[in-house]
Amino acid sequence: MTNADQSARPPSYWTEFRRGIAAMAPALLGLIPFALVLGAEATRKGLSPLEVLLLCGMNFAGGSEFVAVELWNNPAPFLLIIGMTLLVNSRHVLMGAALAPHLRHLPKRKALLALFFMADEVWAFGIQDARRRGGLGAEINLPFYAGLAAALYLTWIFTTVAGSLVGPLFGDPTAYGFDMAFPAVFLVLLKGLWTGYRAAAPWLVSLVAAASVHLLVPGAWYVLAGTLAGLAAAYIWPVKQ
């Protein structure tokens, strides 16, 4: 990702790259305690620090890594872990579909590289930035996206490995309120995507559906159920652009 998009955008590649890092910073604050816990837990399950590095660096999808480490045994239950990874990460299919219109201008090679780094936060900040500039037709700002991805990726692998090295010295991060950082970041992202009550109606459908499924069904099904319920609402009552 060396050549910045040059279509009439004044800021330089590095300005936009740094803006991406800065945009990601508050999200990192909430992420670090969990990364430390994940690394520590992985050590407890018998993974070496190098294996933690490979897990977080190659997979790079935090939710599925927590689930995998919880299920880890010696030897690892391969099919169970792969199946749960698919389940937890199935939301990426929808996220990629939403991002696709913003990636059309990119050569396939670059789009595929960008998609490797499509974690929740990178996707959310990236798509919010594009839509604020020009709705569905806007191109993704690649240097900005690269800044988001670099900040999250390096922090994630560095902190999980640090957690695995210092070991389980940490208690439960929820005891200090750090778990609220995740909803906090997501709520501000939602505020950024807000275009009015009418357009936000599907979100309410999603919230009610996801909360209900979370209370009634064990596992991570609530993400898929909530998302699909909101999309069904958007399909049945389309919002005109």
Binding site: A23, P26, G30, L50, E51, L54, L55, M58, N59, A61, A76, F78, I81, I82, T85, S90, R91, H92, V93, L94, G96, A97, A98, L103, A111, L115, F116, A124, R131, L136, G177, F178, M180, A181, F182, P183, A184, L187, L189, K191, L193, P202, W203, S206, L207, A209, A210, A211, H214, Y222, A225, G226, G230, L231, A234, Y235, P238, V239, K240, Q241
Partner: protein, 99 residues
């Protein structure tokens, strides 16, 4: 520091599955022109995913969690990430110890 072959294969499998989920939507929609309903669905999608991921926070039966979440939501409408994270984490941490 060592890497066992089985562990490496498991991680490789996870990587393959995760990457597949990341590129599937892109390949499905890369060259399509979208109708009104499809556009409406894509428009709603980021918000629908975000609110669904954090929905469990809304189902807590702890008053401290719900008050902290309400405060976080109120601050979030101002649009500042840093301020919202600080208020959210501090409120949740304090209220859980106080209530």
């Amino acid at each position: 520091m060592s890497v066992s072959l089985w562990t490496f294969l498991t991680i490789l499998g996870m990587m393959g599955v995760t990457y597949l989920t990341r590129i599937t939507g892109y390949f499905l929609l890369r060259n399509r022109n979208l109708g009104v309903r499809a556009q409406s669905v894509l428009e709603a999608m980021p918000g629908a995913v975000l609110i669904s991921v954090i929905a469990p926070a809304f189902t807590s039966d702890q008053p401290a969690d719900l008050i902290a979440l309400t405060l976080t939501l109120a601050v979030a409408t101002r649009g500042s990430f840093l301020l919202t994270v600080i208020v959210g984490v501090t409120a949740a941490g304090l209220l859980r110890h106080l209530i």
